[in-house]
């Protein structure tokens, strides 16, 4: 599948709009177990992406993903800036305009490793990784009805962070008190996966 300029623009716009529309929900989740700025930070970052979307999507997929990542790093402010920035920048380093499910899975695996290193975190610690890893596993499986399964696993995986105890990030200060709340980073990751899948499904 070819991700041309129009597709890139639609992809970045859709992801940005969905994140911006959910800013309040993310902030509420973060208020429960963090410092309550995740929604505000993500909105600021993705508003900057929206403002520059024509310029960003004019470059090839690799360069434009790097551009999105750099924008998030510079504009988000919280720890989610470097984390999502690293995710997009790493994807940009490995992806070309012509994508296949396998290539995306390989690039995604490398990008998740980069996020894991940046956050010094791992699966099971109540973070965005708890959504990204299960999504990668389904992407690797491939097969029929992939879009539906990807969205389902992202949603289920974000909900599975509710009973987890935070070990990394601000929520870790709360220890046991972090149990019972969905991780805001897991939720924003699920939102982004959902948006990407919807766009890709429309293109297919």
């Amino acid at each position: 599948m070819m991700i041309d300029r129009e597709a890139r623009k639609l992809l970045f716009e859709t992801v940005a709009q969905r994140v911006i529309a959910s800013a309040e929900e993310l902030t509420d989740l973060d208020r429960a177990i963090g410092d309550g700025d995740h929604g505000v930070n993500m909105r600021r970052g993705f508003e900057a992406v929206l403002a520059a979307v024509d310029e960003l999507s004019a470059k090839n997929l690799g360069e434009s993903l790097k551009g999105v990542g750099t924008t998030l790093v510079m504009k988000v402010g919280g720890a989610s800036g470097p984390l999502y920035g690293t995710l997009f920048m790493s994807l940009g380093k490995t992806l070309d305009d012509e994508v296949t499910c396998e290539r995306v899975a390989d690039a995604f695996a490398t990008a998740i490793d980069a996020v894991r290193a940046r956050g010094k975190s791992d699966v099971g610690q109540k973070t965005m990784l708890d959504v990204l890893f299960p999504v990668l596993a389904v992407l690797r499986e491939g097969g029929t009805e992939l879009p539906v399964r990807l969205k389902a696993v992202a949603k289920a995986a974000s909900e599975e962070t509710i009973p987890m105890r935070a070990i990394r990030g601000r929520a870790s200060f709360l220890g046991e008190r972090s149990v019972g709340h969905m991780d805001p980073g897991a939720r924003s990751s699920a939102l982004i996966v959902d948006a990407v899948v919807d766009v890709m499904e429309g293109l297919a």
Binding site: V73, V76, G77, G81, P82, R118, G119, R170
Partner: protein, 130 residues
């Protein structure tokens, strides 16, 4: 260009960063190149990679720069800022695992004596509870 290691203070709060910088200046005067920043790109509580890069530039010393941070996001954003520096500078900037106020004062005192970047970092990190 200073011969001493530079110190950068990164807090979620501009007030905390500025206050810490004042305490450092009172201890070591202007002998140590000093940079500080606090607040996110929207002016709220948080940290900004761009501001951290600018603070590193202000505190730049050929002997290196030690960064003191307060909470999680400050550390992650500082590490990101280091990675975005020109390659020849990256290896000469470290983030100290130390409390921001005490760490900055101790690190600056050590730096003022002409100590190496590694010695400055160790002095700051001795404050970290084990």
């Amino acid at each position: 260009m200073s011969e001493n290691v530079g110190i950068v203070i990164v807090s979620h709060s501009a007030d905390v960063a500025r206050g810490t910088a004042l305490m450092v200046e009172q201890m070591v005067g202007r002998e140590v190149p000093l940079g500080w920043c606090g607040g996110d790109p929207g002016g709220g509580l948080g940290t900004s990679v761009e501001a951290i890069m600018a603070a590193i530039e202000r505190a730049w010393s050929e002997r290196g720069v030690a960064i003191l941070v307060d909470l999680g996001g400050a550390e992650t954003n500082s590490e990101m800022a280091i990675e975005m520096l020109p390659e020849e500078r990256r290896a000469r900037v470290v983030v100290c695992n130390a409390p921001v106020v005490e760490g900055a004062v101790m690190a600056a005192t050590e730096a003022a004596s002409g100590a190496s970047l590694e010695a400055v970092r160790q002095t700051a990190e001795e404050l970290t509870p084990v």
